[in-house]
């Protein structure tokens, strides 16, 4: 045992003034009493009966001297040498990936075990050693910068939480390497289960790398895929995959809930290190969300140590819900192109009967106009007459020099170079902008009038070769996209930690996303906000709100689906690029300081000293004299 600050032992010299003060203090206070008759008897009896009474009189002094000795000893920071995993400038990488939630350790989860190991390592740091703690999750996070203060380090370790995401080891090691560039004795210490992946893109680390492995079992079942696909006219299909990562066969119950209600539950046996696909075409036609879960059958001996990957979520694929009404006396080209576009349901009407009732996303008026234009979005092809929103001019055959407005996103990939048009009619509409124009005037106008989106093609498709060109379906797709944009997301399935880019409609007044745990976040009304809070696996609900009323709702799912995390087999060594790191041994000498225990004992002594002092000087409690009064009545013989 040695001392880090041996000079502090000089504090022990305070014993001299304490003894002096004690001797001075023993000058007794003089107090008058009516008679010392009884006191004399008591003191005589007491001194005769208890020889250790004199020692007791000095108990306070002894306690105070012992307290001082302990404090001086603690201040001198005594330590003993203990074997340590690593010393020097340490970057501690604490694995907080999803697999660290596995409960195959004595401390509870692997993460708790890693925290315990990290705390032990902090206790064996030498004087002058510094440590930084980096929590390695999807985004590595520096919990504390380089410090030698073990309290700060313990606090950083103890307040860390495991994540549900895949860890980004490359970023974490880059972060660690950056801090150690100038240090002499730099060490990187990785505490985790070794689920680091085989990626080779690891940065060069300036110092040694130590690895301490946690976990001891590979028993885990996981849902590694869940998807539903819907084709127009067909029942949606489910595809799921259950993977057994353990070395024994496992029984499990695969239950499927549709819109929160249990739909089916079946028992499967998955062979060791095998996969089991689950395919079902019996899903109901209209649903929003799917939730799959694995549960252990009663009596099964298989213990699934990682619960985080036992549930998976999916959202119904967007089905063709754009209803398009085609009012035409017969236009095979339009019918064909609309039929070929995904997500479009065509309704056909006849100008002879007039506009049918119904809720349509788009009405196409081909060579015919009703007396009053409907309040839907409109695509007007070859209008026969003027209407309330535009004025029709004369036919013109000046169709050469076609110009497409390339800066408009609606015209991306639209190519009119090879399109020939016989004639078209000039149109006057100040609300619309010409997207395609020829010498004689606009060939395609689009804009908003009276709160609806209107596009006009002022020529008969039969009098052009546009329908025969490849650009026709592209143009129609772009227009349809403009009329009613697609869903708010590109896709509706994400993995944990992945940011979700949102595409908000122009008229969105408010966006609220409800997380699987029930909390909700209001999103800023930017053009394309990104939602990054996808740490929890589960179903997320996105509400487009207006005056706090939900006007549209969409779902997206967040799943773990990470074989690297579900494969919880603990590794005894790590491969970082070309380097193989085996499990850390306690090869170095660390210093274990125990002044904290001394301080604790000193505190206890202080309490005892206080209690002894109090016992000696406490004033009598008033109610005792009342007791005496009442007791008087009971005295025998009175």
């Amino acid at each position: 045992m040695s001392f880090l600050t041996p000079l502090a032992l000089l504090v022990g010299l305070l014993a001299i003034p304490i003894v002096l003060l004690y001797m001075l203090r023993l000058r007794r206070r003089e107090t008058s009493v009516s008679s010392t008759y009884l006191w004399q008897q008591i003191v005589r009896d007491r001194e005769a009966n208890t020889p250790w009474q004199k020692l007791r009189r000095n108990l306070l002094l002894l306690l105070q001297l012992l307290l001082l000795a302990l404090l001086a000893f603690a201040l001198a920071r005594p330590y003993i040498n203990v074997p340590a995993v690593t010393t020097g400038q340490i970057a501690l990488l604490l694995d907080a990936s999803a697999s660290m939630n596995a409960t195959d350790t004595d401390s509870g989860s692997r993460f708790a075990a890693a925290q315990r190991i990290a705390n032990d390592i902090i206790d064996t740091m030498n004087a002058g050693d510094q440590m930084t703690v980096i929590r390695v999750a999807d985004v590595p996070e520096v919990l504390t910068g380089y410090t030698a203060d073990s309290a700060v380090l313990h606090n950083a370790i103890n307040t860390a939480q495991p994540s549900n995401a895949l860890a980004d080891w490359t970023a974490a090691l880059t972060l660690a390497a950056a801090g150690g560039a100038s240090a002499d004795n730099f060490n990187v210490l990785i505490i985790g289960d070794g689920g680091i992946g085989a990626a080779s893109e690891f940065p060069p680390i300036p110092g040694d790398i130590e690895f301490v492995s946690v976990g001891r079992s590979d028993a885990n079942l996981a849902i590694t895929a869940l998807a539903a696909r819907g084709l127009p006219g067909q029942n949606p299909e489910l595809f799921a995959e259950i993977t057994n990562y353990s070395s024994t066969d496992a029984d499990t119950i695969f239950s499927l809930s549709v819109d929160g209600a249990l739909f089916s539950a079946e028992r499967y046996t998955i062979p060791a290190r095998g996969k089991l696909p689950v395919v079902s075409s019996a899903l109901p036609e209209n649903y929003d969300t799917l939730q799959a879960a694995l549960t252990s059958p009663t009596g099964s001996s298989f213990v699934d140590y990682l619960a985080e990957d036992n549930a998976a979520y999916a959202v119904a694929p967007g089905l063709g819900t754009r209803n398009v009404l085609l009012m035409s006396t017969g236009n095979r080209f339009l019918e064909q192109v609309l039929r070929s576009l995904p997500g479009v349901r065509i309704f056909q009407g006849s100008p002879d009967i007039g506009l049918p009732a119904g809720d349509f996303d788009l009405v196409i008026l081909d060579g015919w106009l009703p007396n009053t234009l409907p309040q839907n979005d409109l695509l007007i092809v070859n209008p026969p007459s003027s209407s309330s929103v535009f004025t029709l001019g004369e036919f013109t055959d000046q169709t050469s020099g076609i110009h497409v407005r390339r800066d408009d996103p609606r015209m991306t990939f639209v190519d009119f170079d090879a399109v020939n048009i016989l004639r078209f009619r000039q149109i006057e509409a100040d609300w619309a902008e010409p997207l395609i124009s020829a010498e004689g005037g606009a060939l395609l106008l689009a804009g908003e009038a009276d709160g609806r989106q209107i596009a006009i093609l002022p020529f008969d498709l039969h009098e052009s070769d546009l329908p025969l060109q490849i650009t026709f379906p592209i143009l129609m797709t772009s227009l349809l996209e403009w009329y009613s944009p697609e869903d708010v997301f590109d896709r509706n399935a994400f993995v944990v930690g992945e940011p979700v880019a949102l595409r908000l409609p122009a008229d969105a007044q408010g966006v609220r996303i409800t997380l699987p745990d029930g909390t909700s976040r209001e999103m800023p009304l930017q053009a394309n906000p990104v939602f990054g809070d996808t740490e929890q696996p589960g179903l997320y609900t996105l509400d487009l709100t207006h005056l706090n009323q939900t006007i549209d709702r969409a779902y997206f799912s967040v799943n773990l689906f990470a074989p690297l995390e579900s494969e919880i087999t603990p590794r005894t060594s790590l491969t970082l690029g070309q380097i193989e790191i085996t499990g850390g041994e306690e090869e170095e000498i660390g210093q274990y300081e125990f002044w904290g225990w001394l301080a604790l004992i000193a505190l206890l002594l202080l309490l005892i000293e206080w209690s002894v002092y109090w016992q000696r000087t406490r004033a009598p409690i008033r109610f005792r004299s009342l007791d005496l009064q009442s007791g008087r009545q009971k005295q025998p013989g009175r």
Partner: protein, 301 residues
């Protein structure tokens, strides 16, 4: 009457006037007093009959009975007698004690003088032969003999003028006083009993004279439960002697236990000798000692 107002008020005085001191064990009064004797005598209170024997006063023969029963019976009447009352007050310096910051009414000597005067007043009102003495060191300041209400004011003046001083040896002073008593009577000793030389011999001296003795033991509450703490040097106000004490919780408990044992010891000693013992902490009203405690022993009726 200034001193009597200081010692007790008028309502207490009225209560006291209805009382009478009694000594059941004391025989033969000297002159007629106001108390019923257990002897038969000449008062007007009828007590009993007995058969006529020659020589009886013929005036006392009940002629109605004789006419009916043809047998002479003599009527007996209760006798009335007086009582010699000796009131003794311990006037040592230890009696001049009141607890620090406590109620000044709890001052031991004031309390004891009130008892002293109260008992004396009863005695005077009932025409007893009253002798009072306060013991100051080896001196006695006496009052009396006195008889009748007329001595009320001088008695009060005497009690008001008493002082507590000196160290008292109860034994020798009681014995000295007992030698001077010529007549058996009721002896009431009011003291804190802090007498290292003891008190039993003194009391025995009175008992051997045929007196009936009552001891009123007066203590202040802080003597029963000491309020101080710490390392102390206790100075005896009576003797000036010092005693070093480290007063902690255990020590205080020990003192209180010792105090109880001491009081119990005095009570047992008294009980063995037929002496009435009344413990009177000054926190209890002094009238209660006369009206309740002494009454229970039959000393006051």
């Amino acid at each position: 009457m200034a001193d009597s107002i200081q010692l007790f008020d008028e309502s207490t005085q009225r209560k006291l006037e209805q009382l009478i001191l009694r000594a059941s064990q004391v025989r033969a009064g000297a002159i007629k007093g106001e108390r019923r004797s257990n002897k038969r005598g000449t008062s007007i209170e009828f007590a009993d009959y007995r058969s006529y024997v020659p020589g009886d006063d013929l005036r006392r023969v009940d002629w109605n009975i004789y006419a009916r029963a043809d047998r002479p019976l003599t009527k007996l009447y209760e006798d009335e007698e007086d009582l010699a009352v000796y009131l003794l007050l311990d006037g040592s310096a230890s009696m001049d004690w009141s607890s620090e910051g406590g109620d000044p009414q709890h001052q031991k000597f004031l309390y004891a003088r009130r008892l002293f005067a109260g008992l004396a007043y009863i005695s005077l009102v009932t025409n007893d032969r009253l002798m009072m003495a306060a013991i100051n060191g080896d001196q006695l300041s006496s009052f009396g003999p006195a008889r009748g209400r007329g001595f009320g004011v001088p008695m009060m003046r005497y009690v008001g003028g008493l002082e507590a001083r000196g160290a008292t040896d109860l034994n020798s002073m009681l014995k000295r006083y007992a030698l001077r008593t010529s007549r058996p009577g009721l002896v009431v000793l009011i003291s804190d009993m802090f007498s290292p030389q003891g008190y039993l011999d003194g009391i025995t001296a009175f008992l051997s004279k045929g007196c009936e003795v009552a001891v009123v033991h007066v203590l202040s509450p802080d003597e029963i439960e000491p309020p101080m703490a710490g390392d102390l040097r206790l100075i005896d106000v009576e003797t000036g002697a010092g005693q070093e004490v480290s007063l902690d919780g255990a020590m205080r408990d020990l003192y209180m236990r010792r105090m109880t044992e001491w009081r119990d010891g005095i009570r047992m000693d008294c009980a063995r000798r037929g002496v009435h013992y009344v413990f009177a902490p000054t926190s209890t009203p002094w009238e209660k000692v006369i009206l309740y405690d002494l009454r229970r022993f039959g000393v006051v009726k």
